[in-house]
């Protein structure tokens, strides 16, 4: 018997969306930025909400720069997908991200501390099945507090 993802013609759209989002999060867990980007459309946009205007841009530019810096500063960074659901035509991933800071990051000097913070990733998938927009939110003051 085959899983739904092996039968793309039979899949409800929401399922292929979920698979794309989970593949993205797994690539993040593997710290493979290129693989993360391979799941996104070339013109895809991103917003790291707590970072305001500095956190908005193209996935292949702003996203790539932030994730590369993050992985460099937190070499043990890891995540747990708590749940993945479709809502209002988008995929909502509730994720816990954790890691230990080894280098300065985004104005946060390293103190060798660790963080564990819940994040919400909202994925919008385009008609070709790639991530077209990604919004990420977390409690930034709590994140900073853990590392200070």
């Amino acid at each position: 018997m085959e899983a739904l993802k092996d039968n793309p013609q039979e899949q409800p759209l929401s399922i292929s969306w979920k698979n794309r989002s989970v593949d993205f999060m797994k690539a993040y867990q593997d710290q493979n930025v290129q693989k993360m980007l391979d799941n996104c459309s070339k013109k895809g946009t991103i917003s790291f909400l707590p970072l305001g205007e500095d956190g908005k841009g193209k996935i292949h530019e702003t996203g790539k720069a932030i994730w590369t810096a993050l992985i460099d500063s937190f070499p043990t960074i890891d995540n747990t997908i708590n749940s993945v659901v479709t809502e209002n035509g988008k995929v909502k991933c509730d994720v816990t991200i954790r890691g230990k800071q080894e280098k300065d990051f985004g104005g946060l000097p390293t103190r060798g501390k660790s963080f564990e913070e819940d994040h919400i990733f909202i994925f919008k998938i385009d008609s070709d099945g790639f991530i077209d927009d990604l919004t990420i939110n977390w409690n930034h003051s709590n994140f900073v507090k853990q590392l200070s």
Binding site: A3, L4, I15, N19, I81, N82, S83, E87
Partner: protein, 280 residues
Amino acid sequence: MDYRKYRPAKLLEKFVECYFVWEVESDKPLRIESPPNGLCSLVFNFQDTYHVSNHKYEKRKVPNCFMTGQALSNYTLHINGKISVMGIAFKPAAIYNFYKLSMYELTDERICFSTVQSNPDSEVESWTNMAKSHPERIKILETYLLELIKKTGYGDPAIIDAANEIFYTKGKINVTELLDKVPMSRRNFERRFLEEVGVSPKTYAKIRRFGYTCSLMAGNRDINLMDVLYKGGYYDQSHFIKDFKYFSGRTPRKYAKTNVELANYVDRISLVERRLQEGI
């Protein structure tokens, strides 16, 4: 309104919580609420179509034969007319074990069984439709599962046991300690758990604990919330309130006063103890 549960064969106990039959006939619209209960299901409806609403859907038609994964919020069934439903309440890792279906695909969804299944096995749908009574249908389902268990077994035993342990302890378990007992890395365990159960171990424990706590409140308007908090395994009031708001959108006090769960309506919930093979 009649609701009956039937125990599965010993061989299936690790995967099947029970078979159930639910019959309703109502000449006026009826709303039945249900909290997430930590189980998955395969459901058949033989009479009028009904609808479901939850945080995602205002009112959505429920397929006549469908599978569900873990629910992440309370949902409400809207019934008008005659409903005759039967199904299998699966333990958390059972659907993956039988169908090798990534369970996060089913989280918070009701998916047509015909979409999930390849042709030969979907015959079970027509067999149950042809059967004349619910006991006959349950026998068909049990025979189907007993055949299925022989030729499947996709699940990782460590995941099946861990998920069942969370289920049996009603979510009152330290997930970090559970992780220590599992012979695999945390990352691998969590990935497999997401694949085979549909959510993370921590989230599954939360779902199960909430579902159990709701069952303590169902059908009871005059309850001691501190007593429920303690029996439900919550450490403090803030977690108790937070979980109720997350899953039901209401505070525990409001939930206790307004829940319209099945237990408020049924005349009889009976557990049929006799083994199916002994003839029911």
